[in-house]
Each structure stands twice: as C-alpha cells, then as structure tokens.
Symmetry: C2
Subunit: 359 residues, 2 copies
C-alpha cells in the first residue's frame, strides 16, 4: 500500500484540518499515512475524529459531518517536536530545525518509510527540505512547482508557479518536460500541448526569457509538442495543456485567478441575497454554483507538485482545509503510482536538448 | 469643447464599431471628435449611423438600437490613407507609414487640433507614435500603460500593463507617481495606497526588481503612500489603489483576470440553460448577472491610459465594441479635463526621489 507522509503541523489550520484531511484520504483512497509532528497533538486530533467525525466544508457551502473509524486505517505517527514558521528564511530554518515536522516528513520519503510527502506549511521550507533531503532528478537544474488549473476543457498545468524567480530558457525547457510528463501520466492528457506564457502570440513578443524560451522550445519540437506563445487570457481556453513561465509570473497568474474568481463569487452571492426573488434564484442556482465553485477552487486540486526532486512532494495551500488536504494526498498517490519521476528522468536521458540554431 | 482624435481604422472591428463608439461618446459626453482614417469609409459609417442608429451590445447581452443624429455633433474628419496592421514592427511601421491613421491621430494632438487620442489598433504602434509624436513628460524615463480593474471596493490601477517588458526600480517609482496622480484625479481616490505586485507580502520576497522597488518606494514614503507588497490574489480586495509592476507581469495579470472571469461567466451561462428550473433562475438572475458582467468587463473601462507622454493617449482593446470605444473616449475626456499630465510633471518637479539608504 502506498504510504504518504504528511507534515501535520504545517499550514494555517494545522494540526486540526491537516490531520482530518489525511485521515479522510486514507479512508477514501486506501492509502496508508504517516503523520509527522507533535504526537500528543496528533493523537488529540485522531481522538476527536473518532468521537466527532470530520467536518467537510467542500465547496465552501454548508458543512457536513463524516464519520470515520481511524482504527481501521493504516496510520503511523512520527515524532517531530519543532515547527518551521511561515516567516522564517527557509535555508536557515531547515538547517537549524533538523527535527522540524517538514524536514522529518521529507526524511520519511528519503528513507523509504513513505513514498511521498504532503506539506501545507511554508512553501519555501517544503522546497528547501525536498531539495536538500531528496536531491534533484538527473538532468534537472531546479525543481519547479506544477499547478493544475481548470479550463473550459481539460485542466492546464502551469509550471513554474512559484519555486524560481530567476529562470533560464534551459530551465523552462526542463519545466516543459516535467509538465508534459505530469499532464500525460497523472492528468491523462494524450499529447499535451506546450506553450510559453507571454504577452502576445507572435514569436517576437515578450521579455528576454520568453523570447529565448520560444526559440529553444521551437528547436525541440521533435520531442515536445510545442504550440507557441499563450496569452494570460488563453490559459482557460484549454487549448494548451502545459504552460511554462518563471515562478514569479506563474505565481502572479495563479493568485490572480484565485482573486478574480473569488471576487466574482462574492459579487454573485451578494446579488443572490438582495431581494426575495433573487433568493429564489439563488436557491435554484445553489447546486450548480457549488459545482462551478468546486471546479475552480484550489481545494479541488488540493496541492501543487514540486517536480524535479527524487521523490514526490505535494505543496498545499497555506489555508488548506481538510478537504484540500484529502485531495492533495490523492495527487501524491497518483504521482507515486504513475511513476512520474522515473518518466521524467527517462525522457531527459533519452532526449538530448537541441540548441537554438543560429541561421 | 474638448476634442478627441480617434484612430478610426484601428482594431478588429474598425471602422464600424470605432466610428459608432466615437459618435456615441460625442452624443453622450458632449465632446467634439476628430475621426482619422479613410474619409470614404468614415463617411459610409456616419451615413449608416444616421440611417440605422448605433447597435449597443453593452454588457454582452441583448443588443439595443440607439438613434443618433450626427449633424448635431461636432465631427471632424482627417484623412489618413495608410493603416498599420497588428503584426507590423511598431518602430519601423510608424517611420514607414507616416500617413497612417495612428500616426496622424497622434499628430492631431501634437498640433493641438485635438486634446487626446483614442487607439484600438496595434498597442505597439500607438505607443511608438505617442512617444515619437508627443515626447516624454519631464522626469519620466518610459511611458507606461495604466489599466483600471474593478475590485469589491474602489477600482485599482495596475501600471505597467504592457508597455515595458524590462524595467528598473526607478521606472517603477515613476509608475507609482503616475498611477497615484491618475487614481487621485481621474478615479477620485483620496489618498491612493501604492503596492508592489509580488509573490508574497514579506519585504524579502520576490525577484530582483520587486526587492529593489520595495526598498526604493519605502525610502520615498513621504511623498507616496506606500503600503508594501501585494499578492495577485489581493488585487481585487480593493485595499490597494495603485499596483506597480513591469509590463510583462502586469499584462499577464490583466489578461488572466479577463480569462478567468470569462470562463466563469461561460460556466454560469451554460448552467442557467441546463433545465427548465435553471432557466427560471437564469431569468431572475439576468439583470444582476449583467450588472456584474459590466463591472468586470474591460468594455466598461474602455481603455487604458498611456501615461508619461506629453499628451493623452488612450489604448483600447483590439476587440473593442462601440460601447468600449465610447467609454474610452470618456476616459480620454476625463484625463484631459483633470489635467493629469500637468499634475504628474508638477509632482516630479517638486519631489526629488530619495535614494535607498545603505544602513
């Protein structure tokens, strides 16, 4: 059985929501879990779950209570007495706090006790401890965060969504390889199309990085299904399956999506309460509003994969609810079982990168 | 009476929608207009408007016909036989096509025949001809595009939304000055708060540009109301009134907003058609869906100001409808009448920039 390590102390709602989400995933997806953190706090949460069940807030609508018997699940607790806080400098923190929950959760993967790790705490600390604890895949300069976003067709992968603020075209080529492998194997997209996030469709558009990346991906069309530049507006058309960019731009794109959707939902909810007639419409619209909200909400995808390290690290939103953690564990399980990392390494071993021709 | 020059040949829907929008603005806002382009085509559109009226598609819902008598309006036609197409390299195009509609429309402002120009064609050509034809304001290195976006509170200004892909911290300081002046004088925000678009709130976050800009704006807090970093998700909270970034990131943020909103509306419209009950809800929801759509649609703000040139240039969306052009002319009129440019120049003359302290 696949075992997933979870940093039980990481995130705004830890340990309560994190432990609940992990247990929920164990129950729903048949995975074993390894909860890393302060044992007394974890035990307290497990007892609470046995007594009260898990409160699901899926979709952001009315909470529902789910009964789970933890004694039927494969749950391991690993002690970690330290916690890395959100404000700490990641590099220093992982060296100073060797017994922190995130460092030991990654360690569980490095030693083979678990096959993947889910972390909702400091993204920087999760990245640093993964890089340090697991090492890079051969052929990968820097790991990158792959985020899955909904579109009106199939989901799209944005890579890098925040790991690297300074990137080279070669790094974006590697992101394209990792994103393609992820899209194909985990999301089930047959021939993922790769695009460069840019401010115009024409080849001559954009900043230095976008211009050079365009040329490099064009030179490697034999191995990657490169379709050209993609504008911010086109992300959601679903015509492109993997969009590469540096982590600064990717992170802005991701959070703008979140902010714009959330604003729209707030505006709609307010209108649905404005008068009795609107309330009736709101009542009718509720189920599908919920469905749409679920489709676009980050909770649904649960977490972003840190690709490029020798192991599977899923980075969850700092504000993750139990539902988001449950889905993040599912992402981790799928990544393990489809062997994404081996496929990335194989690709890079079998396809040497073509340089940009100087004609 | 303020006169606005309009590149009648620019944009995907030119000249039909552009001429209609200009005439509509003249009728609604009491401005004089100067239509620059091929006279026969412009006359044809004016005749059509007199015969059939203008078709308003405001809000993207059912079209409405508006009757307008152009003989009562102050409309001037200026001949321009060339048109710069979307794909052309802007710098070369404006030198080669000196009689193009965009070059002559900017010229109309340079010579004082009009007080502002509205352009829906190639953004690059509008920028290049404005920079070349009007010159820069004293103290401004590079003009920038200021886009107004809705939030749940007051609108926010994103600057730069696409003019400059490579920026220095000093340029972003100037963008902050221009954005503040615009927000205060045209949007009526009393003490506009300025933020740096970044991937985290902490001062130590982001790429080189964001880090250095943070320090520079912090050192100039006496003259600018600097509030720190703003994440993509926070743009729509309305807590920050002016957000500075380089034109690559700004353009992505803007287009992602457009794409995400449009996807959500498509999903909602589809659900409102799914069954008879949903259709009833859709009927009730229609007026406020329309209201929300209007609030978030780019058509409503009509156009983005190119700030930093000695004159007012409003850059409209390439896909502008008559309604968008009408609103763009209103933006141009407001910018002229509130004297934004003089206020920017005054600010830069009276406030010398504090360097970052090296303690």
């Amino acid at each position: 059985m696949t075992r997933i390590a979870i940093d039980a102390m990481g995130g705004d709602n830890a340990p309560q929501e994190v432990v609940a989400g992990a247990v929920w995933a164990a129950s729903d997806y048949g995975v074993a879990i390894e909860l890393v953190g302060k044992p007394d706090k974890i035990e307290y949460e497990l007892d609470r779950i046995n007594a009260e069940g898990i409160v699901s807030t899926a979709g952001g609508f009315k909470p529902q209570r789910i009964k789970i018997d933890t004694s039927k699940l494969d749950i391991k607790i690993t002690q970690a007495n330290e916690v890395i806080e959100m404000g700490e400098a990641p590099g220093q923190a992982i060296r100073r706090k060797k017994k922190s929950s995130i460092v030991l959760a990654v360690d569980a993967v490095a030693t083979g006790s678990s096959q993947a790790v889910v972390a909702a705490g400091s993204t920087g600390a999760a990245m640093a401890s993964s890089l340090f604890g697991l090492g890079r895949l051969p052929g990968i300069e820097r790991p990158a965060i792959a985020v899955t976003l909904p579109t009106i067709k199939k989901p799209v992968v944005i890579i890098d969504a925040g790991a690297n603020t300074n990137c080279s075209p070669e790094m974006l080529y590697q992101f394209a390889v990792m994103g393609t492998t992820f899209s194909k194997n985990v999301l089930g997209v047959e021939e993922p199309k790769v695009g460069v996030l840019n401010i115009g469709e024409e080849a001559g558009k954009g900043n230095e990085l976008a211009l050079s990346t365009y040329k490099l991906l064009e030179a490697n069309q034999d191995s990657l299904n490169f379709m050209g530049n993609v504008e911010g507006r086109e992300i959601f058309s679903g015509n492109c399956n993997v969009i590469v960019c540096d982590g600064f731009v990717g992170n802005v794109a991701l959070k703008v999506t979140e902010g714009a959707s959330s604003m729209l939902f707030k505006m709609l909810k307010k209108e649905f309460k404005a008068d009795p007639l609107a309330k009736i419409a709101g009542l009718i619209a509720k189920p599908f509003m919920k469905r749409i909200y679920k489709r676009i909400n980050y909770e649904e995808f649960g977490g972003a994969l840190l690709l490029g390290v020798k192991g599977i690290t899923v980075i969850s939103h700092g504000r993750s609810t139990a539902y988001a953690i449950r889905n993040a564990v599912k992402v981790a399980k799928d990544a393990v079982e489809t062997g994404v990392n081996k496929k990335i390494a194989d690709f890079l071993e079998n396809n040497s990168i073509n340089p940009v021709s100087n004609e």
